[in-house]
């Protein structure tokens, strides 16, 4: 008697669990499902899509925007936004090349890049955390200012590296995998661990979800925010090094332009909430890949480059509509 009674709720529970499980899978990993779907469609539409070289090509192309998007994810999880990433990338690139040419030392050039990128991010953080300026405004200012300094320094044109070996960063490979892909993967793992396994990451989620409660939980909100923007700046400098190294030059006027929009798109497709507090690094990783596949597919199918923006815009909006919103 007691046995049969216990059995029924158990079975009911199981059903509920399965249903909850599916719901959970969808809400947490809808971006991966979308990715698989687009991947399968792409492989049907173009036979060359599945080619290993093409696959690596996609990865290579998204690595720079991917690294920028990782930083953008952290910023957006904290409830902010960073519009300055593209301009800062150009500025870092310009100063890195100057430092490279002046010192003749690749290591010094890389360190310069890190310092400039993090400093720009630090300034963003300072304005936002201590100056209480909305992140949109503060980074909009930084976007204009950084581009202007880059243009002034490079006299509006491009500057090229004169040290052999610098191009190796973006153009060498291990086995058949290019360095930028490896750097992107390593950065993804690094930021993932930072967000999931450290105090810093937990604080970022808390601040993005409820800043007042985070402050009343004795979290040093200002410091964390400065850290968030500094990290974003540091990741931009990593991306800037790859971008500069790839062609051994950087354009002060066009490099990095509209990167902020691609990065924000990737983060949103990846399921991070605009207002912060919710989202995942893994989501952004697949969001970046989805954008990469779309670009690649349209190139393979000879879609006019003028129309590619339209398709991308459409996909972004569709992706967001299909994601579970609350």
């Amino acid at each position: 008697m007691a046995n049969t009674q216990a059995k029924i709720p158990n079975e009911a529970k199981k059903k509920v669990n399965v249903k909850n499980g599916l719901n959970w899978l969808w809400s947490e990993y809808s971006v991966i499902i979308a990715f698989l779907l687009i991947f399968i469609i792409a492989s049907f539409m173009s036979p060359r899509f599945l080619d290993l070289n093409n696959q690596l090509n996609i990865f290579m192309q998204v690595s720079i925007i991917g690294i920028v998007s990782l930083g953008m994810t952290v910023v957006m999880l904290s409830g902010g936004i960073d519009l300055s990433v593209g301009s800062v990338l150009a500025l870092v690139g310009v100063i890195t090349v100057i430092s490279l040419n002046a010192s003749g030392n690749i290591l010094i050039a890389i360190l310069t890049a890190f310092v400039v990128g993090s400093f720009a991010g630090f300034l963003n953080g300072l304005m936002i955390a201590k100056g209480k300026i909305a992140s949109f405004i503060a980074t909009l200012g930084m976007m204009a200012a950084a581009r202007s300094i880059a243009l002034y320094t490079a006299d509006g044109g491009s500057i090229s590296g004169e040290v052999s070996g610098f191009t190796a960063i973006a153009n060498r490979d291990i086995w058949i995998i290019d360095y930028p892909i490896i750097i992107f993967l390593v950065m993804t793992i690094f930021v993932y661990l930072l967000m999931q396994k450290t105090r810093f990451g937990r604080y970022v989620y808390a601040i993005g979800s409820n800043e007042k409660a985070a402050l009343l939980s004795a979290i040093r909100v200002d410091r964390v925010k400065i850290g968030v923007y500094t990290l974003a700046g540091l990741l931009v400098s990593v991306a800037a090094i790859i971008e500069t190294s790839r062609l051994n030059s950087i354009s002060s006027s066009s490099s990095g332009s509209a990167y902020e929009l691609d990065a924000i798109a990737a983060v949103i497709i990846g399921g991070t909430r605009m207002t912060g507090g919710r989202g995942k690094i893994i989501g952004t990783f697949f969001g970046v890949l989805i954008l990469g596949i779309l670009n690649n597919m349209m190139n393979l199918m000879n879609v006019s480059p003028h129309l590619q923006g339209f398709v991308k815009g459409l996909i972004i909006i569709v992706a967001v509509v299909f994601q579970k919103r609350d």
Partner: protein, 506 residues
């Protein structure tokens, strides 16, 4: 059924994810009746009212309005049947004016299609006058007291010709004189034939204003009847399944050294000349009406507000509180009021909310140890009787009482010497309330210094050895818990009497 009944709900059933929440609930409300809907959090009150308000649809059961069966599919159809739902969190647009809020979504327009501001203002004034209040309809809602916001919500319901108004814990953020105003209003509404369903945890209020009651427990109606005939103790017994008397929670802890000493603290326009001490093992209370400055005072002591002068000593050391982090380091913890805005991080899991202020305890070479967090949570879950099956769900899915316990666990894990509780039982049902009082007593017995801020005299009377009464930013009296009464406290809280605090206490 009597022909006088306005609304009848029959055998309503509702399940979420296969878990039944309502198991055949029936409810009848007559015209011009104030009906109390009682029950602990999770008993199904909100679900039942959400069905009536058109927020969700029932799985089974019928609803009759004026004897005719109706289907309520959304909030609009609920409104068209004359039902208004005033939620616990007021849904006012604070940056709009009073009349704009009143007519939000149903604005009056003149022939040209422009807004007819004058007419809207006149109608607003008329309705407010009927309720016996005078507010300029062009005032911004953000400049009004909470009680007035409540009034505007009710006026809005009247504007839509509502015949039934559902009030979900309307008094939880009101001071006592505001509550009185609300009750007068409810009686007026009743006279004019409007029915009210009143959800509250406060039995005294039920006794004061309600005619009939229905008690829900675990999705069933466990009792109903006339309020005036029934003994309050019995109703409480029905709600929790056991009796809770208005006892004083005695505790006999040895008073240790002074843990927190505040001297001559003031902040322009908020509070002034604040002096008090609290010793280890002692529970002291701060009570006052809205605008007394007690919350602001303790937010300053916790470092949340920076602009203050005066001296704060924790364990004999002078500390300048510029940031809550300094308070935490010095050994002061703070469980804030308005849990949803100030305490819980709704996107974080239950476990992560618990560990948020003491993540250092769970780190190993810079990495958080999920296992350790879980084990610690299990310890507090047991200790504080937190009801949650899967602690990885986000905290907003728990009931108010359980959320509060998680927040308390958070500060227990920090292990501060001084713990400040601001309105610790706000929006919490009777059973959980008692548990929380018990935990507060235990803290004192373990040698913590505990400070309780409350707007309910009965709460501080239950727990505190010393009660500080505040009025307009000043401490007007210090009373001994065993020797004072609610009446005496209220006299000082309303500014009717004022003691020179130093002589008062010695």
């Amino acid at each position: 059924m009597s022909s006088n009944s306005f609304i009848t709900m029959n055998n309503i059933e509702k399940a979420f994810n296969g878990v039944p929440v309502l198991k055949g609930v029936s409810l009848e409300v007559e015209k011009g009746e104030i009906h109390a809907l009682l029950g602990e959090n999770g008993a199904g009150k909100s679900t039942l009212m959400n069905i009536l308000g058109g927020v969700i649809e029932p799985d089974r059961g019928t609803i009759e309005v004026n004897g005719e069966e109706v289907r309520i599919t959304d909030t609009r159809s609920s409104q068209s049947h004359g039902i208004s739902f005033i939620h616990q969190e007021l849904s006012m647009v604070t940056d709009l004016r009073v009349y704009e809020n009143m007519f939000l979504g149903s604005e009056l327009r003149n022939k040209l299609g422009f807004l007819n501001v004058e007419e809207m203002c006149v109608q607003t004034s008329n309705i407010l006058a009927e309720l016996g209040v005078e507010i300029n309809p062009k005032k911004y809602v953000r400049d009004l007291d909470t009680s007035y916001k409540q009034l505007i919500e009710i006026s809005k319901a009247l504007l839509h010709n509502s015949k039934l108004i559902i009030m979900d814990e309307p008094t939880s953020s009101l001071a006592e004189h505001e509550v009185k105003r609300l009750f007068d209003l409810m009686r007026n509404l009743k006279q004019s034939g409007v029915s009210i369903i009143y959800i509250s945890h406060k039995l005294k209020e039920i006794k004061a204003v309600c005619d009939y009651y229905t008690v829900l427990r675990d999705g069933n109606v466990v009792g109903s009847g006339e309020v005036q005939v029934e003994n309050l103790d019995n109703i409480t017994k029905l709600m929790v399944g056991k009796s809770i008397s208005e006892e004083r929670f005695n505790h006999y802890s040895e008073l240790g050294p002074v843990a927190l000493e505040v001297t001559d603290m003031m902040s322009e326009g908020l509070f002034k000349a604040i002096d008090f001490t609290v010793r280890k093992g002692e529970i002291i209370g701060f009570i006052g009406l809205a605008g007394d400055g007690r919350t602001e005072l303790f937010e300053s002591i916790f470092g949340y507000r920076r602009k203050y002068s005066g001296e704060i000593k924790v364990n004999g050391q002078i500390v300048k509180m510029d940031h809550p982090y300094q308070a935490l380091q010095a050994g002061v913890g703070f469980v804030p009021k308005d849990r949803k805005e100030n305490a819980i991080i709704k996107d974080l899991s239950v476990i992560h909310n618990m560990s948020l202020s003491s993540l250092g305890h769970f780190e190993k070479s810079g990495m958080l140890q999920a296992k350790k967090e879980l084990n610690t949570f299990q310890y507090y879950k047991e200790k504080l009787n937190i009801k949650v099956n899967n602690p990885r769900i986000t905290i907003d899915k728990l009931s108010g009482g359980n959320q509060q316990k998680v927040i308390i666990a958070k500060w227990l894990e920090v292990n501060s010497d001084v713990i400040i509780f601001d309105n610790p039982t706000q929006g919490i049902d009777v059973g959980a309330k008692r548990e929380i009082y018990q935990h507060i007593i235990e803290l004192a017995e373990q040698g913590k210094a505990v400070i309780i801020l409350s707007s309910e005299a009965s709460e501080v009377l239950k727990l505190c050895q010393t009660i500080h009464v505040m009025y307009q930013g000043e401490i007007t009296a210090r009373l001994k818990g065993e020797e004072t009464s609610e009446d005496e406290i209220m006299r000082y809280a309303t500014g009717f009497r004022k003691l020179r605090y130093n002589q008062a206490f010695r």
